[in-house]
C-alpha cells in the first residue's frame, strides 16, 4: 500500500470518529425530544435525488482513478470533472434545502433538531467542499502534464478513497436523518 493511501486511511479513521460523535449527538437529542421532531419539513425525495448525484460520483471518481493508473490522462481528467460537477450539484441541493428550512423558521437556533441537523449536514457539506477543492487541484494537475508521476497517480487513488468515505458518511446521515432509521 502506498504512503498516500495509508495516510488517507488514517484520515478516514479520525474523521469517522468525528462524524460518529456528531451523529450520536443527533440521535441522543432525537431520543429525548419526545416526538417533537419537525422532520416533516424535510423533503426526502428531493434530497434523495440530489444524493444520487453524490453516490454516482463515487463511480465517476473510481473511473478517474483507474484511468490515471493506466495513464489515460485525458479520460481521467474527464471523470474528475464529472465527479466535481456531481459534487457541486449535491452541495447545491443542500443549499436549496437549507434555504427552504431557514425561510420557514427552522433555523439552527430554534430547537434541538435545528442544532443537530445543521451541524451534522453542515460538517458533511464542509468535507464535500474540501474534497472538491482537492479534486480541483488534481484536475488542474491532470491538465498540466503532471499525471505521469507515480506519486500523483497514487494521490488520485487516495483522494478517491476519501471521496468514497464522504459518500458513505452521507449514506449514514441520509438514513438516520431523512429515513428515520433508528439505531
Amino acid at each position: 500500500m502506498n504512503k498516500s493511501k495509508l495516510a488517507v486511511i488514517l484520515v478516514i479513521g479520525t474523521e469517522a470518529v468525528f462524524f460518529t460523535l456528531l451523529i450520536l449527538a443527533f440521535l441522543y437529542f432525537r431520543s429525548v425530544a419526545k416526538g417533537n421532531t419537525p422532520e416533516g419539513l424535510l423533503d426526502v425525495v428531493k434530497t434523495g435525488i440530489f444524493s444520487l448525484f453524490l453516490f454516482s460520483s463515487s463511480f465517476t471518481v473510481w473511473r478517474a482513478e483507474k484511468n490515471a493508473e493506466h495513464q489515460k490522462i485525458k479520460r481521467s481528467a474527464f471523470w474528475l470533472f464529472i465527479t466535481m460537477l456531481f459534487g457541486v450539484i449535491f452541495l447545491t441541493g443542500q443549499g436549496i434545502e437549507w434555504n427552504f428550512l431557514i425561510r420557514h423558521g427552522q433555523t439552527i437556533s430554534r430547537d434541538l433538531f435545528g442544532t443537530t441537523f445543521f451541524t451534522l449536514t453542515g460538517f458533511h457539506g464542509f468535507h464535500v467542499l474540501a474534497g472538491l477543492l482537492i479534486l480541483g487541484i488534481l484536475f488542474i494537475l491532470s491538465l498540466t502534464g503532471n499525471f505521469n508521476h507515480k506519486n500523483t497517480v497514487n494521490s488520485v487513488g487516495a483522494v478517491a478513497l476519501y471521496w468514497h468515505f464522504v459518500d458513505i458518511v452521507w449514506v449514514v446521515i441520509f438514513s438516520i436523518v431523512y429515513l428515520g432509521v433508528k439505531l
Partner: protein, 552 residues
C-alpha cells in the same frame, strides 16, 4: 557482508550545515530536523509563558485572601496556564522530539510527508497566537482548561475568550492530527532494511502507539469544540440546559478526548526513558516485548477509562463501577514498565549524567503520581478528593515529575546530536537539583492541602489553620523552580555557543541516530549500518556477541 562506518565530522566544522543558515530557510523549511528544532523552540517559549502564569498563580495563593490578582484575572490566568502547558508545551514538545528523531532512528531520510510536517508546525504556532490574542481582545478564556458547559456558554462566559480558545485549539488539533498521520506513515513505510517492527527503538514504538491514540482522541475534542462554537456563535442548544441541551454531553465528549490526552502526553516520554536508561546503565532494555506490548495495551485501554473524571456527576453505581474497573486495570501495564526500567538498571554500570539523573528520578516521581492516580480509581476516595489540590498534586507529579523530567532527560541526551555540542554537566547537575527540590517543594504539599479541604481553581482561600503556611511553602518551591529554569536556559545558551564538541556518539549509545554526525547532514546518513537487531551499533562494536544472537 560489509558493515558501514559512519562519517566523522571534523570538529572545526561543527555548525549547522549551509542549508540551515538564514531565517528564511528555517521558516520555509520542510526538513524534519529543522521542523523538530522549531517545535522545541516554540514549545520552550510557551513553557516560559506558562511558567510565568504559574508564578502569578502561586504569588496570588501565597497568602490567604491575597489581592495580587483580581478574581477575573486569576481565572483567566489559571485557564491559560493549563491550556498552554497541555496544548502548546507538553504535547507538541514530544511531537517535536518525534519529528527530529524518528526518521533518524529508523534510518530514513525525512518524514513521509515533509510539507505536511511543516503544516503541522505552523498550525501549532498560529493556533497558539489565536489563543493568546484573546488577552487583548476582551479577555482570555476563564472557564478552566476543560471549559465545562454551561459555564462556557455565551450567557455565562460573555467575552470572546471562549471563542478564541475553541478556535485556537481547533487549529492546534488539526496540526496535531497531521503530525500523527505523518509519524505513523513514516514509521510503517520508511524503516531501513532489516528494521522490523520488533527491532524498533522503544521511543519509535511509543510514538507509533501515540500516533494512533492521537488519531482517535482528537475527534471527540474537535466535535465538542465545534458544538460549543455553534452554541456560542449561532445560538444553538447542544449544551444549554434552558433550551434542552446537555452539559453532561460536553463532559462525555471532552473526557473521551481528555483521558487519552494524558496518555498522549506520557507515551513518548516513556519512550525517552526507554532510550536513556539502557544507555546509561550500559545494558539493553529489560523486557523489550513487555515494554512495547504494555504500551499498546495502554493505548487501547486509555479510551475505556475516561469517565473516572465523572465519578461525582451522579451517573449511578453501575456506571462508576465499570470505569473504576477499567481504571484499575490500566495500572497493571503501567507498573510493568516501571519494573522493567528498574530491572534495566539492575546489574548495570550506571553513569549518572544529568540525563540519567532525570531518568532515575522520573521513576520515583512518576510512581508517586501513578499511585495517587490509582487512589482516584477507588471511587469513594475520588468522591472526597476530586476537584481538590490533591488532584493538582497528582497531575503535576505525572506531567512534571513524569513527562517534563523525561523531556529534560531527553534534552540532555539528544542536545549533542542536534547541535554537535554537549550541554554543561556542571550546570546540568545544578539544574537538576534545583528542579528536583523546587518541584517536590511546590507540589508534594499540595496533596495535603487537598486532604484538608482546599478545592482547586480558587483565586483565594479563607485563613483556615495550615492553609496559609502550606501555600506559602508551595509558592517558595515555585520560585526555586523558576530559578532552575533560568539555569537551564543559561546552560542551553552557553553550551550552544561553546559547549564541548560531542562527536557522533558521545554516550556510546546503540541506536541509528548515533550512526551519523552531530548534527546530521541534511540527508541524515552518509551510510546506514546494517540492522540485524535492536542495537545495530552494539552489534558493530561487539561482533563477538551481537544482540541478534539473544533476541527472539
Amino acid at each position: 557482508m560489509s558493515n558501514s562506518v559512519p562519517t566523522v565530522r571534523n570538529i572545526d566544522t561543527i555548525s549547522m550545515p549551509g542549508e540551515y543558515k538564514g531565517l528564511l530557510s528555517w521558516v520555509t523549511s520542510v526538513d524534519h530536523k529543522q521542523i523538530g528544532i522549531m517545535y522545541l523552540l516554540i514549545t520552550l517559549f510557551f513553557f516560559l509563558v506558562g511558567g510565568v502564569e504559574a508564578l502569578f498563580i502561586r504569588i496570588q495563593l501565597a497568602r490567604p485572601e491575597n489581592t495580587f490578582l483580581s478574581p477575573d484575572a486569576y481565572n483567566q490566568i489559571f485557564t491559560m496556564h493549563g491550556t498552554t502547558m497541555i496544548f502548546l508545551v507538553v504535547m507538541p514538545m514530544l511531537i517535536g522530539f518525534a519529528n527530529y528523531f524518528v526518521p533518524l532512528m529508523i534510518g530514513a531520510r525525512d518524514m513521509a510527508f515533509p510539507r505536511l510536517n511543516a503544516l503541522g508546525l505552523w498550525l501549532l504556532f498560529f493556533g497558539g497566537l489565536i489563543l493568546y490574542y484573546s488577552f487583548i481582545a476582551g479577555g482570555a478564556p476563564a472557564a478552566g482548561w476543560f471549559s465545562y458547559a454551561p459555564l462556557s456558554e455565551k450567557v455565562y462566559s460573555t467575552t470572546t475568550g471562549m471563542d478564541y480558545w475553541a478556535l485556537g485549539l481547533l487549529g492546534i488539533g488539526v496540526g496535531t492530527v497531521a503530525s500523527a498521520i505523518n509519524l505513523v506513515v513514516t514509521i510503517i513505510k520508511y524503516r531501513t532494511k532489516g528494521m522490523s517492527l520488533k527491532r524498533l527503538p522503544l521511543f519509535v514504538w511509543m510514538v507509533l502507539v501515540n500516533g494512533f491514540v492521537i488519531l482517535f482522541a482528537m475527534p471527540p475534542l474537535n466535535a465538542a469544540l465545534v458544538m460549543l462554537l455553534v452554541d456560542r456563535l449561532l445560538n444553538a442548544s447542544f449544551f444549554t440546559v434552558t433550551t434542552g441541551g446537555s452539559p453532561i454531553l460536553w463532559q462525555h465528549y471532552f473526557w473521551a478526548f481528555g483521558h487519552p490526552e494524558v496518555y498522549i502526553m506520557i507515551l513518548p516520554a516513556w519512550g525517552i526513558i526507554s532510550e536513556v536508561i539502557p544507555v546509561f546503565s550500559r545494558k539493553p532494555i529489560f523486557g523489550y516485548e513487555f515494554v512495547a506490548g504494555s504500551s499498546v495495551a495502554i493505548g487501547l485501554l486509555s479510551f475505556a477509562v475516561y469517565a473516572h473524571h465523572m465519578f461525582t456527576v451522579g451517573l449511578g453505581h453501575p456506571f462508576n463501577t465499570a470505569f473504576a474497573f477499567a481504571s484499575m486495570t490500566i495500572a497493571v501495564p503501567t507498573g510493568i514498565k516501571v519494573f522493567n526500567w528498574i530491572a534495566t538498571m539492575w546489574g548495570g554500570r550506571i553513569r549518572f549524567t544529568t540525563s540519567m539523573m532525570y531518568a532515575a528520578s522520573f521513576l520515583i516521581l512518576f510512581t508517586i503520581g501513578g499511585l495517587s492516580g490509582i487512589s482516584f480509581a477507588v471511587v469513594p476516595v475520588d468522591w472526597q478528593v476530586t476537584d481538590t489540590y490533591y488532584v493538582v498534586a497528582h497531575f503535576h507529579y505525572v506531567l512534571f515529575g513524569g513527562t517534563l523530567f523525561a523531556i529534560f532527560a531527553g534534552i540532555y541526551y539528544w542536545f549533542p546530536k542536534m547541535t554537535g555540542r554537549l550541554l554543561s554537566e556542571k550546570l546540568g547537575k545544578l539544574h537538576f537539583w534545583l528542579t528536583f527540590i523546587g518541584f517536590n517543594m511546590t507540589f508534594f504539599i499540595q496533596h495535603i492541602l487537598g486532604l484538608i479541604g482546599m478545592p482547586r481553581r480558587v483565586y483565594t482561600y479563607p485563613n483556615l489553620p495550615g492553609w496559609g503556611s502550606m501555600n506559602m511553602i508551595s509558592t517558595i518551591g515555585a520560585f526555586i523552580l523558576a530559578i532552575s529554569v533560568l539555569v537551564f536556559l543559561w546552560n542551553l545558551i552557553v553550551s550552544f555557543r561553546s559547549g564541548k564538541p560531542a562527536g557522533d556518539n558521545p554516550w556510546e549509545a546503540w541506536t541509528l541516530e548515533w550512526a551519523t554526525s552531530s548534527p546530521p547532514p541534511p540527508h541524515n546518513f552518509e551510510k546506514i549500518p546494517l540492522v540485524r537487531s535492536r542495537r545495530p551499533l552494539w552489534d558493530l562494536k561487539h561482533p563477538e556477541d551481537p544482540d541478534w544472537k539473544h533476541e527472539s
